[in-house]
């Protein structure tokens, strides 16, 4: 165990309980994304920061009808405690959802959780001792890494390119960490429309990554919130469709229905599933019966596949608005062009710092998430995650236009305070020509 104590940011002498916290609590610092949620809630700010789904695209009348039927027909069940594993009929329906990504499973191995976030917390609680290692794509989902840190895991990053995680980087990381005597407990991956990078792991690489994990006895934690939200062709089948014993699969209704119910699930190998149920019961006794039954009723009576299609259309339009605006306003920067999901990953010139730039952005009424939030090792300084899920196409265009102003302003500042001008000295090697639109 490490000897770390809560740093001054996590407590101080004004807190009489300062000396009493667990060691793990030192890892619970407020994330950059969290501070942004407060900023982004001001209506005049175009927020390209959060990951809120477009729930306005959901036909609320149909949801209301589902609720009323549940209350009238199963009210006393909906209002009561349920099982720690979740409502059986919903677990059966979850099999239908996962079948769309090639997964065949038994409802016996599904555990319903309070959003897939809680499945992530429970899996981490089950597997991580202090000092254990989690491998994750670099960049990776910020609140997953907060959980890993909160259980005193080290997160090490596997490099990515346009086809997702690079198998060679995975091999190198494993060899290096094993040589250091580290215990690698699992590989956390978002293979489809990754958060934040927007890229998708190719089919060939899925097979290779699974093979590497198997050879090294490493459990794979496949987090798949966006897989059904593809804009054209679906992504390759889920990792879990290939490998059953070595993969814990996490799914959610937050993106295909609505996050306000907090219903997600884990599909786990049998022995792990057993422990997940116990951990779930300890944590919350049972997930909300009411939420589960409403979702079950919705899946049973509404053409939910057509609704997922509607969501796809909404997000496709917003993604196109964002890529169009980036092409128009920031043509010399690099960005990913996702085939689904919620996010574009933008690369600034290496001499810009997206976190330092954020206060100026907020002043210009646009918010984003700085790239450093998505790295456990300080990477991502000149990256930005742009979310297109929540704002309208018009707002997205306004936001990117404002972002252009912000970046221009930063470059002006650098010009002013550098005798030779930054463009001649600190040029990003991936950024070959002077950016005409940034002068």
């Amino acid at each position: 165990m490490s000897s770390q104590k809560p740093p001054s940011s996590a407590g101080n002498n004004l807190d009489p309980w300062y000396a009493n916290y667990a060691e793990r609590t030192a890892g619970l610092a407020a994330s950059e994304v969290r501070a942004l949620f407060a900023v982004a809630s001001r209506p005049e700010v175009v927020s390209l920061a959060g990951g809120m789904p477009a729930v306005s695209a959901l036909p609320q009348e149909l949801v209301i009808e589902s609720m009323n039927r549940v209350m009238r027909e199963q009210g006393s069940v909906a209002l009561q405690y349920g099982s720690g594993q979740g409502v059986p009929v919903l677990r059966e329906q979850i099999l239908d959802v996962m079948a769309m990504e090639g997964i065949r499973a038994s409802a016996d191995d599904v555990v319903v959780t309070t959003g897939s976030q809680h499945a992530l917390e429970l899996v981490t609680k089950l597997f991580i001792d202090p000092g254990d290692v989690v491998l994750a794509e670099g960049p990776s989902y910020v609140t997953a890494m907060v959980i890993f840190r909160s259980f005193q895991a080290e997160t090490h990053h596997v490099a990515m390119d346009a086809n997702g995680m690079i198998p060679e980087s995975l091999r190198e990381n494993i060899a290096r960490l094993k040589a250091l005597g580290k215990k690698i407990k699992f590989l956390y991956t978002i293979p489809s429309f990754q958060n934040p990078a927007g890229v998708t792991l190719s089919w060939e690489r899925r097979l290779e990554v699974l093979q590497i994990a198997k050879e090294n006895g490493i459990l794979v934690l496949e987090d798949n919130p966006y897989g059904l939200l593809h804009f054209d062709a679906p992504p390759p089948p889920a990792l879990r469709s290939v490998e059953q014993e070595g993969v814990i699969y996490l799914g959610t209704f937050s993106k295909t229905l609505a996050p306000g119910f907090r219903v997600g699930w884990a599909l786990a190998p049998h022995a792990i599933r057993e422990k997940l149920i116990l951990a779930n019961e300890a944590a919350v006794l049972s997930p909300s019966s009411f939420s589960q039954l409403v979702i079950s009723e919705y899946l049973d009576t509404i053409d939910w596949r057509a609704q997922v299609d509607r969501f796809r259309g909404v997000y496709r339009e917003r993604k196109e608005a964002m890529i169009g605006a980036l092409t128009e306003y920031l043509p010399n920067l690099q960005w990913t062009d996702p085939d689904g999901g919620f996010y574009v990953w933008l690369t600034l010139p290496s001499y810009l710092d997206s976190k330092q730039m954020l206060p100026r952005a907020v002043k210009e009424l646009v918010a984003y998430t700085p790239g450093t939030a998505f790295y456990a090792d300080g990477g991502g300084r000149n990256n930005i995650r742009l979310s297109f899920c929540y704002p309208t196409p018009e707002a997205i265009r306004v936001g990117i236009r404002r972002l252009q102003n912000v970046i221009n302003g930063e470059l002006d500042l650098l010009e002013t305070f550098s005798a030779t001008g930054p463009l001649g000295t600190a040029r990003d090697r991936n950024f070959s020509a002077p950016p005409p639109n940034l002068d």
Copy 2:
């Protein structure tokens, strides 16, 4: 850290991930209460085992109206992610609920959680390192102790009598554990209508317990699910009403409204509250917006105090049915006679083992929770927790009548297999006369 490994009951060679679990996972074994839930679900069994509230006493039409108003007026908020601390207006309303127990606080210090169970998990995560100590009444709430064990805490019990926790036992425990070099992280207590003992901490003792905790720098975790469910006079004011900086107070809507929404809360000293929010965000991002808004609407538009009165009437009637049946069918045993809450604690002759007796009870179509479930140290062998919250008064009478048969059957068995008869040899010293009804 201990060197314990998952025992055979928590994993085996058929589980390929057996060697990969965290040390804490060894503590996650299925509880006795859990196995009972399956049994108790058979309709022919009278279950005096679970803790399910009587949601049938809730006017479902009013709940449906609240839901519909929420969806029509705030649908897009209800369906979306919310804040990790909870909906502000609900946190204000929670102040009104707590005011009924003498608590004055700021909504700023309230954190809404997925049932108060999850507040318990989060507080434990924040404070417990492996080997730390939690003090709790003996007996205590089973799933609290499951959480403590799942974070590798040791639970030590403070003795109780009819007036709740005995201050002298608290002092002795603290002195003994400090002499052993143990870190006591908090005192977990259910001061009003305790689960499972049914007793209430007197006002004088509340002050004394708080004083002892303060003198020794021990945080108090006050769990108060039943405080408003008193049958006659209310219990003494909450511990939190006396002491602010040294108490984390846990409340819930599971008993005064319905558990199916999974909404509870923690009221914590300011610095701890800050960390609770971060832990809550890591675990579930935000508690269910929908559930919170429905409860907020219910509190705003319905005479919820009158509904709590209705619940009190329902539980008072059931408690009286249980005490009446115990007096009639098992007059020579000892039991507690609670002034509120859900539970009666029954003491059998010391030579009976309530866990061994359980299969016979299930065969006779009555279920209960064996006393050992409520002790971390093997205590409670000849105790039983009887719940009167869920079954009707008629079912309660039938259940206690069946329990009489079960106990008689056990005594017959002991007579048969003991040459001299158990009544002459193994008599409980608290059980002064031969029980005529048990021959």
